[in-house]
């Protein structure tokens, strides 16, 4: 059992045109910048991307959008300090947006990973984001039915990883990463430290290896926030 890959290019191999790709992170925290940049190098088009946001500046997801790779974005908050990449394309109709309340987005992804095709939530009931969805009453209270979200690939960022794919996360960089790991046919994790089998306490594992298909070590990963402060662009 060894899920390790030598390079980020190798790790993202096979993500082709039209794929649905979940990308972990909340803003820059937990964003797998190196995997995203490897995907930009590979250059698939017409992707559906699931992320909480829509990128910031000209690196990471924003750079993917600038390179015209994203046909549709499923997210909760497509705003940032420098949201130009997405905003321009959204306003002139070159990119489709499915706006989902953040908790519903998280739960839909979790449901995709857990084999729950649909669930009910009070969130968005009576609002335009709940329109056109089935509703039902339970114990006298109205709820909206929401469907699971799955993906062909997930790109996630973790802190420790072992050859079995067991993962831990760093601080608040956990966010959507463990959920997306469960909801994709192929989950690709960049880890800041690759350790040997047994190098992660079984009680400390956050994402068990069964959810992870490929691992690549990226030591000292870049932070989107720092890159944006330096006005970086990719490539």
């Amino acid at each position: 059992m060894n899920k390790r890959h030598a390079t980020t290019a190798e790790a993202v191999a096979g993500i082709s045109d039209g794929a649905t790709v979940m990308i972990g992170g909340f803003g820059g925290s937990g964003a797998p910048i190196e995997l995203i940049h490897a995907l930009i190098d590979a250059g698939p088009k017409n992707l559906t991307v699931v992320n909480n946001n829509a990128g910031n500046g000209h690196v990471g997801l924003a750079a993917m959008i600038e390179h015209g790779m994203v046909a549709k974005l499923i997210c909760s908050f497509p705003k940032s300090k420098d949201p130009k990449a997405f905003t321009e394309r959204y306003l002139d109709g070159r990119i489709e947006l499915e706006l989902v309340p953040q908790g519903t987005l998280a739960e839909r992804i979790r449901a995709g990973g857990a084999g729950i095709p649909a669930f009910y939530t009070p969130t968005a009931y009576g609002t335009e984001l709940g329109e056109k969805k089935p509703t039902a009453e339970f114990d006298g209270k109205p709820y909206v039915q929401e469907r699971w979200l799955k993906a062909d690939f997930a790109l996630i960022k973790a802190e420790l990883g072992d050859p079995y794919g067991n993962l831990t996360y760093r601080l608040a960089a956990r966010n959507f990463n463990p959920l997306m790991a469960t909801a994709a046919a192929v989950t690709i994790a960049q880890v800041s430290h690759l350790v040997e089998a047994g190098g992660i306490d079984p009680e400390a594992v956050v994402t068990p290896g069964i959810f992870v298909n490929r691992l690549v070590e990226v030591s000292d990963p870049q932070q989107e926030e720092i890159l944006n402060q330096a006005e970086a662009r990719y490539p």
Binding site: F26, S76, A173
Partner: protein
């Protein structure tokens, strides 16, 4: 628009902080509501929750000491207090949706007398963004709003029915404004005035409010420190 004796944002935040109990689990919306944390009452220890998976965070780090893996929902760097915990987004919204948060404090474009809230979108122009607002208003045990009493051009923000797109239905139970503290009787679809700044008359306050202000018993003076 300047109104005699009206509170500034710090003062509204201070007033809201008076109602946060010791040990309460609290989520403060991005921006204006975040100011509430600064006015925590001595001897009380609320525990702050942020949607992106942290309970028990503290103030911002010194400039230059930020760790960008440790941020809040507003993407600002934070620090931790002893007893903090990290968790994923599904767990974070289980806390919200599951009714575990004691209070969520949010900003508003409009609040209606039936408790409806509009705070995520002005119209159908531009890029819409909702974040966690719709989950918070449907999940927290108590949903409070901080807001100027009227818009910049003097129009009421407390209304009979929201005209902007809704964030949630019948969800707001208390509003802290620049002029008053008002409870929302959701079942009765009534604003109930609890406190008002001393310098404004009942008539003037009513004229700046888009729905009837009911009074039950007496109305207290809304007095706050200089801030």
């Amino acid at each position: 628009m300047s109104i005699q004796g009206q509170l500034n944002q710090e003062q509204i935040a201070w007033r809201a902080a008076q109602d946060i109990e010791d040990g309460a689990y609290v989520n403060l919306g991005i921006g204006f509501p975040e100011k509430v944390a600064a006015y925590t009452i001595e001897g009380r220890e609320p525990i702050f929750h942020t949607e992106n998976g942290v309970l028990g965070f503290g103030r911002a780090p010194e400039k230059g000491k930020e760790d960008w893996d440790l941020i809040n929902a507003g993407k600002k760097a934070i620090t931790l207090k002893p007893g903090a915990a990290f968790f994923d987004h599904a767990t974070s919204f289980a806390m919200i949706r599951g009714g575990h948060l004691d209070v969520a404090i949010l900003g508003a474009l409009q609040v209606a007398s039936n408790g409806d809230l509009a705070n995520w979108r002005v119209g159908d122009k531009g890029v819409p963004a909702v974040g966690g607002a719709m989950d918070l208003v449907n999940g927290a045990k108590r949903v409070a709003v901080l807001t100027d009493h009227v818009t910049k051009d003097g129009k009421p923000k407390l209304v009979e029915a929201c005209t902007f797109p809704l964030t949630g239905v019948g969800c707001v139970t208390r509003v802290y404004t620049s002029l008053a503290v008002i409870d929302v009787d959701v079942a009765g679809a009534r604003f109930v005035l609890l406190e008002k700044v001393p310098d404004i008359s009942m008539d003037d306050l009513q004229s700046l409010t888009g729905a009837k202000l009911h009074v039950e018993g007496s109305v207290a003076d809304l007095t706050v420190p200089e801030l």
